[in-house]
């Protein structure tokens, strides 16, 4: 039985919307266990989102259209990105029109507008957060592109679907260039998704925030959309990592049984990724802000090493 590629595309986006809160719930549950605490359950993020959606929006008097428009833009780009990254199947109509550089661009647009929105209402924290976020972005984006170029060199394409297909079928899974690119990717993921040791997603201390400082003034459905998009971003990075480096089981034909198998494998992969993430987050304190340059610099270095080793060894 075969569903059309459009159906696959639809399934993927539904999966992203539905499972992103579950994944963050899983990470939080694991974190509680790691610190021997009681948990609120893996479904707490859904309840949080539902609560935010029922609340009224409190808008600053001098908020411009940028501030009101940003949550929808951020949410929209996250969904679009979900149409590009092969999570279940590589047979994606959108995947043909947009490659990995577009993906990085989508994240950049959403970040750009969030930073603008942070400065829009003119609070001290918003501007502070925007400036920090831009500092991180200026270091993380080149490293991210570098890591992805390394992978695309190995697989001779910048189309994510193509990369995943080639990587899946190629026998030499342990290429040194990919190992370096993977290390770089892990560091970038921590920075891009605002996890410890780069940012602390659960802090209430405004002065230490990076991402949260920009969105402090958001409330109600606006905040819900931004939070949801944040969850999707984490989910997407995990899915992207799995598509680039561990693409086993991703369906190629749009076959329903293949998609189901891909879904099952993705669950396992994400479950393991959550464990790794929590181990990193529990074992490390947050870095001093200016250590970030070293951290992201080493991500860039890893990616560059990956590229060099591709030309030298492969």
């Amino acid at each position: 039985m075969t569903g059309g590629p459009i159906l696959t595309e639809f399934l993927q986006i539904m999966l992203l919307l539905g499972a992103a809160p579950l994944f963050i719930g899983w990470v939080r549950t694991l974190k509680c266990w790691a610190q021997s605490r009681d948990t609120a359950g893996v479904f707490q993020p859904y309840r949080d989102l539902a609560r935010l959606f029922t609340k009224d929006v409190v808008l600053a008097e001098n908020a411009s259209w940028i501030f009101r428009f940003t949550p929808y833009l951020v949410f929209g780009t996250a969904i679009l990105a979900g149409g590009i990254v092969p999570m279940l199947s590589t047979d994606l109509p959108l995947g043909l029109s947009a490659d990995v550089i577009v993906l990085v661009g989508l994240f950049a647009i959403s970040r750009f507008f969030t930073a603008l929105a942070g400065m829009d209402i003119g609070t001290a924290f918003g501007g502070m957060g925007s400036s920090r976020e831009m500092m991180v972005a200026s270091l993380a984006e080149p490293a991210m592109l570098m890591a992805i170029f390394t992978v695309s060199l190995a697989d001779k394409s910048t189309s994510l679907s193509h990369i995943a297909e080639v990587a899946f079928s190629s026998q030499a899974l342990l290429k040194p260039s990919l190992a370096f690119a993977f290390l770089a990717f892990v560091l970038i993921t921590l920075a891009e998704t605002g996890r410890i040791p780069v940012d602390n997603p659960s802090t209430h201390l405004e002065l230490t925030m990076l991402h949260e400082a920009m969105i402090l003034e958001y409330s109600g459905r606006h905040l819900a959309l931004i939070e949801w998009a944040g969850m999707m971003k984490l989910f997407l990075f995990m899915a992207l990592g799995s598509a680039l480096f561990f693409p086993w089981g991703i369906d190629k034909s749009g076959d329903l049984s293949g998609i189901l198998l891909a879904g099952g494998l993705l669950t396992i992969k994400l479950g393991v990724a959550g464990v790794v993430l929590v181990l990193i987050e529990t074992g490390l304190a947050k870095m001093r802000l200016f250590r970030l340059t070293e951290f992201l610099g080493s991500a860039f270095l890893m990616a560059t090493l990956g590229m060099l080793s591709f030309f030298i060894l492969e």
Binding site: Q35, I196, L205, E206, L207, A285
Partner: protein, 526 residues
């Protein structure tokens, strides 16, 4: 004669008169004319004394005007210098140029009592709000606290920094966490803080004024509420000052139980603080584990003494709770568990390099600066000052040297790590002291009748709470009532230490530094 007394005589000669009536007899009170008030400060500075407190008293009940007092400390000596001021011209020479902590003491005296420190560089109101009428002074006897305060339009003048790339970050007074209110204004270039200005007073409750309307016995209850997390130490400090005035001799066992409660309070707060410091570096594991240990201790408190923080268990003349054999066994078992888990957690703290990277060299309060600011307690001991009332001004039962000996940790780096580590070692020491107390506590009654002080007597006490030295100075009026109760929480001086430790740090490190100081807003604002 004492060393400080001699120095004062040497500098001022016959201008200095020793006052009788100051209790306990180990503390000397000396009257100088108001012109010589600053000269006395100079003499004290030359003898390396530190300023412990400065305050003003409305002595109209005695048929006089105002008095200003300055209390100096050197080693184990305390010396109080007093100057009388006429009611129609309450001016005195400021000692801020000699002693930095007087900067805030004098602003506070000026705002609340209306005495004028001549030559003070900055007389903006402190604690008093800008929308209170200028000529209303709540601590004066003529002020009626039962009427609501009138409101006027006023604005607080902040210090400013200007230049390219300088921007301001106002934080508070309402914060995101469950903490007290206080305003912090940063001037920063990029992420580098070039100036921090604190603005406190948001939890001003008029406690010092309230004391004057209470009986001596109820005063002990109010003292226990000056700063909730230090309720035992404040209670003890008030009671010791009162007992020194009435000549009450507290039973030995009561002293030992007070020490037991005091050390338990110290452990509970230090456990919470060490965890909170780690949590501000996003190392949440330590916070949850240490909070668990703290909770254990508080629950034992509740079972044995009927209150988690043991509030109101210290009363004038003794204590209101006793401990029996089964209670002793319970505390010993609890301490064994706390001590075992605590050591494991300290190892985690000590061996986590990413945490180490955050806490070392952050928020440094240099020893020379700490000395200049006359900071006390944990903050002082982390910056190389060997100060502890339990050793240098021993109140019972710590004064019995051969019986309750203690070892106080002193670090010299003055950073967040030093302040955390001083706490770690104090927890160990307090656990040891509690075990010793439980083994060797004398038998006997736990309280005695305290009695009332004679009119015009004054009492003084200094007690080492978990934050540091707490000072109480009590004065009985002509009818034997409370005429003035001066409270000097360690926060009154240590907040200035935080303000001075921050410039040069980056903005996102402030919460970590602040947590390592963890001063009380309530104890400061009174």
């Amino acid at each position: 004669m004492t060393m400080l007394g001699d120095a004062l005589i040497a500098a001022l000669g016959t201008d200095a008169r020793f006052e009788p009536g100051q209790c306990p007899s180990s503390v000397i009170c000396c009257t100088v004319s108001r012109e010589k008030f600053a000269e006395a400060a100079r003499a004290m500075k030359k003898s390396y004394a530190l300023l412990a407190a400065e305050w003003a008293v409305d002595e109209s009940a005695f048929g006089r005007g105002f008095s200003v007092y300055a209390c100096y400390r050197w080693g184990r000596e305390y010396l109080i210098v007093r100057s009388g001021l006429p009611a129609d011209d309450p001016q005195f020479p400021s000692i801020t140029k000699r002693y930095l902590p007087a900067y805030r003491f004098e602003r506070q005296m000026h705002s609340l009592m209306g005495v004028v420190p001549a030559g003070h560089p900055d007389l903006r109101p402190w604690i008093k709000f800008e929308d209170w009428p200028r000529d209303v002074y709540p601590l004066r006897k003529s002020f009626d606290p039962s009427k609501p305060m009138q409101r006027i339009k006023g604005e607080y003048q902040w210090s400013r920094a200007e230049g390219e790339g300088v921007y301001e970050i106002p934080v508070g007074p309402v914060h995101a966490g469950i903490i007290e209110p206080g305003h912090f204004r940063f001037q920063a270039v990029g992420e580098m803080v070039i100036n921090l200005e604190e603005r406190l007073g948001y939890v001003h409750k008029g406690i010092e004024k309230r004391f004057e309307a209470l009986s001596w016995k109820d005063g002990a209850r109010l003292a226990g509420r000056v700063s909730g997390d230090t309720t035992v130490a404040h209670g003890i400090a008030y009671c010791i000052a009162l007992e020194s005035m009435t000549g009450c001799s507290v039973p030995l066992r009561a002293h030992w139980i007070r020490a037991l409660l005091l050390e338990r309070e110290r452990i509970a707060n230090h456990l919470g603080d060490i965890g909170a410091i780690c949590n501000d570096a996003a190392f949440a594991f330590m916070l949850y584990q240490l909070s668990r240990l703290r909770e254990l201790l508080l629950r034992t408190n509740h079972r044995l003494f009927g209150h988690r923080l043991t509030m109101d268990r210290v009363i004038p003349g003794g204590v209101s709770v006793d401990i029996d054999v089964s209670g002793r066994a319970e505390i010993q078992a609890e301490l064994a568990e706390i001590s075992r888990d605590f050591e494991k957690l300290v190892t985690v703290y000590d061996e986590s390099s990413s945490l180490e990277d955050r806490v070392r060299d952050t928020g440094v309060l240099k020893p020379e600066k700490a000395r200049e600011l006359c900071v006390v307690g944990i903050v002082a001991r982390a910056s190389g000052m060997n100060l502890d009332c339990r050793i240098f001004n021993p109140f019972p039962p710590y004064d019995e040297y051969d019986r309750l000996e203690l070892d106080v940790p002193v670090k010299v780096t003055g950073d967040v790590h030093a302040r955390a580590w001083v706490r770690v070692e104090e927890v160990r020491e307090s656990i040891r002291i509690i075990r010793y107390i439980l083994e060797n506590m004398p038998e006997g009654p736990i309280s005695t009748e305290c009695g009332l002080p004679s009119p015009e007597a004054t009492g003084f006490s200094a007690v080492e709470g978990w934050r540091g030295e707490i000072i109480y100075w009590l004065q009985a009026g002509p009818k034997g009532e409370i005429n003035r109760c001066m409270v000097r929480d360690p926060s009154s001086v240590n907040w200035l230490g935080l303000e001075q430790a921050i410039p040069g740090n980056i903005v996102p490190d402030f919460p970590l530094c602040n947590k390592s100081f963890n001063q009380s807003y309530s104890g400061h604002d009174l």
